[in-house]
């Protein structure tokens, strides 16, 4: 059984590798369209023409574009994305610092999104057909019209400024420092046994992750509800009811188990959107992750950073989709036989 899952996993990884290559070609080509000159931005204004030409040659910009690409790609394959123009640091170090923060945020947000999405979907199914249906429909349409970055600002105004009960900048309060082991604050604080710092880090995660979750959950709710409705007409649901099981038991043990798979498939797409959503949410919460790094790099036209971060985003999306596909495979035996 696990052999089948492993085989599919290997095949999926085999398909993903060429995609990663094409992604890097795409990013490289698009960024070469750039109207600004990366050299002009990294030299002092009084540099002579000869100095600029020398730097241009040193940066490899005099080479034909496909040679530039191969040099960059060969290094990128070894996680060397070159040196940031604005920060004067290796891009891989900048990414290494930012990535755990973003992953932590995404994981917490995904947990919230799943809880809200599934609970909301079950609730919407329960009220379907009744008086609550129109209200729940309208509510989900309204919530769906609010993108995560507007939730982020709204939460800052409500919980940060008006009620002043939750922090909304950075990962920790100013006075707290945590030794870096994994880079995941929730893990590091627990390893070091510092529960105060753990709670502090968690409280900093609450608002940004809730904004992301609310941007993601409504669609999960809707899909779960409509697949519950489809399942609701199946014979085994009728049988379970006839056998006298409580409505709650029928819903959770019979309907939910079967209706969950379409929702799970959607989660792959949704969680990769969620990953993209971190970009703006991080900027709004001054959260030092990949998104903040990307937006800073874009503001500085820091090409090596933009390229590196874009590639990391793409790889992350591929990994999320792979993970969701494997989860579906493990939960649904039918998929294993079919292929």
């Amino acid at each position: 059984m696990s052999g089948g899952v492993l085989g599919v996993a290997l095949r999926r990884i085999g398909v993903s590798l060429p995609l990663v290559f094409l992604v890097s070609v795409l990013v490289f080509v698009v960024l070469r369209l750039i109207p600004a000159d990366p050299v002009a931005m990294s030299v002092p204004p009084n540099a002579t023409r000869a100095e600029i030409e020398a730097l241009r040659a040193e940066m490899g910009l005099t080479l034909p574009i496909h040679e530039q690409f191969w040099i960059w790609f060969a290094k990128a394959a070894g996680a060397d994305f070159g040196k940031s123009i604005a920060f004067a640091q290796p891009v891989s170090r900048l990414i290494g610092q930012a990535l755990p923060a973003t992953i932590e945020l995404v994981v917490v947000a995904a947990v919230f999104a799943t809880i809200i999405g599934l609970a909301g979907g079950l609730l919407m199914y329960r009220v379907a057909g009744g008086r609550g249906e129109a209200a729940s429909d309208l509510a989900s349409t309204l919530i769906m019209s609010i993108p995560e970055f507007l939730w982020a600002i709204f939460f800052i105004l409500l919980f940060g400024v008006a009620l002043n009960i939750l922090p909304f900048t950075g990962r920790l309060d100013a006075g707290i420092t945590v030794g870096r082991i994994t880079g995941f604050l929730l893990v590091d604080t627990l390893i070091q046994g510092r529960f105060g710092a753990f709670l502090n880090a968690l409280s900093h995660l609450l608002l940004p992750s809730m904004s992301l979750a609310l941007g993601t959950a409504p669609l999960l709710m809707r899909v779960l509800r409509s697949s519950l409705m489809e399942v609701g007409n199946e014979d085994y649901m009728m049988m379970a009811r006839l056998r006298g099981f409580s409505e709650r038991r029928v819903l959770v043990h019979h309907a939910f188990k079967n209706a969950f798979l379409p929702t799970l498939n959607l989660m792959g797409v949704q969680f990769s959107f969620l990953f993209g959503g971190t970009l703006l949410v991080e900027v709004i919460y001054s959260y030092p992750g990949l998104g903040s790094l990307m937006v800073q790099a874009v503001a500085n036209t820091d090409l090596p950073v933009i390229q590196g971060v874009a590639l990391v985003y793409a790889v992350a999306v591929l990994l999320i989709n792979l993970g969701v596909d494997l989860a579906a495979l493990m939960l649904n035996p039918k998929l294993r036989i079919a292929k």
Binding site: L19, S145, L280
Partner: protein, 300 residues
């Protein structure tokens, strides 16, 4: 839209309860359409409606609150940190939102649908290439890809529209391709070919009408998405030129003063939400009214 007329016309001859039932599926689309139409009108007639030039600074009247929060009727919705009139900026901001919504969503429709129909109708190698292209595009979170494209193209209204088209064509392509694959299996497609229709004529006369309701629904939802993407890009300063008022820019500006002047932040947020809600209600309503079976496929 044309399908509403026969429905309403038939309903006239039926008893009252049935009549209400037949209009009911359209209620949502009508409400959404009304919201969108209202914002369109505001955008078109912005110069007539706005009390001030949106860039006119009044440094003696900075950060005025709206009239209900202690402001005055000179600036009904208050002013920003440079004393620019919030109402006028909101009204002019609707222009950017609507231009991007219409142009970017239509562009994505044309590109995505063309590729989808070619791929789904002809199949084979074309289908393989288009499907791999979609997979490649889906590797990027849309926001990240549009940001990279804007860095490449440079800022400006036209480039923003182009970037959104180049990011979001996949939304049309994926869904429409799947639908074309289903439509293609119908006997009437074979019949059309047997009757001597060329491929182009078969696509135009048989395939396109069959997928049109689906396309219309995605178009409406995509317009809402385009409004959000433009707001995101202008929030990070990567959208229109700085002299053009846009809702995202207003949010970014007002964020610095959120402790003193909260309404400057809340109002453009509400403008975006109402606009997107209008498009979503319209799209959702069209989906329900045109074909309840589509629900599943359109959602993404």
């Amino acid at each position: 839209m044309s399908r509403s007329q026969p429905a309403a016309g038939q309903a006239g001859a039926l008893p009252a309860p049935r009549r209400r039932a037949s209009l009911r599926p359209w209620r949502r689309a009508i409400v959404g359409g009304a919201i969108v139409a209202a914002i369109m009108l505001v955008a078109i007639f912005a110069p007539l409606l706005a009390p001030y030039d949106p860039n006119e600074q009044d440094l003696l009247n900075q950060l005025l609150p709206p009239v209900w929060a202690g402001g005055n009727w000179d600036h009904p919705l208050g002013t920003d940190n440079l004393g620019r009139d919030t109402l006028s900026r909101l009204i002019y901001g609707s222009r950017v939102a609507m231009i991007v919504a219409v142009a970017a969503a239509s562009g994505a429709l044309v590109l995505g649908t063309a590729l989808a129909i070619v791929a789904g109708y002809f199949g084979g190698i074309v289908d393989w290439i288009v499907s791999r292209l979609v997979e490649l595009w889906l590797c990027f979170p849309p926001v990240v890809l549009s940001l990279i494209l804007i860095v490449g193209f440079g800022v400006g209204l036209r480039n923003v529209i182009l970037a959104i088209i180049l990011v979001d064509w996949t939304r049309f392509c994926r869904v429409v391709r799947a639908e074309v694959l289903v439509v293609r299996r119908n006997d009437y497609i074979d019949a059309a070919r047997l009757a001597g229709f060329s491929h182009w004529r078969t696509i135009r006369r048989e395939v396109l009408p069959a997928v049109a309701p689906l396309i219309l629904t995605i178009l409406s939802l995509e317009m809402g998405i385009a409004v959000i993407v433009e707001a995101i890009l202008s929030f990070v300063g990567m959208s229109v030129e700085s002299t053009i008022p846009a809702w995202g820019v207003m949010i970014a500006d007002a964020r610095k003063d959120m402790y003193q002047a909260v309404w400057g932040l809340v109002l453009p947020i509400l403008a975006i939400i109402v606009t997107v809600l209008g498009f979503n209600l319209l799209g959702d309503g069209l989906r329900r009214a045109l074909d309840p079976k589509l629900r599943q496929r359109v959602i993404q």
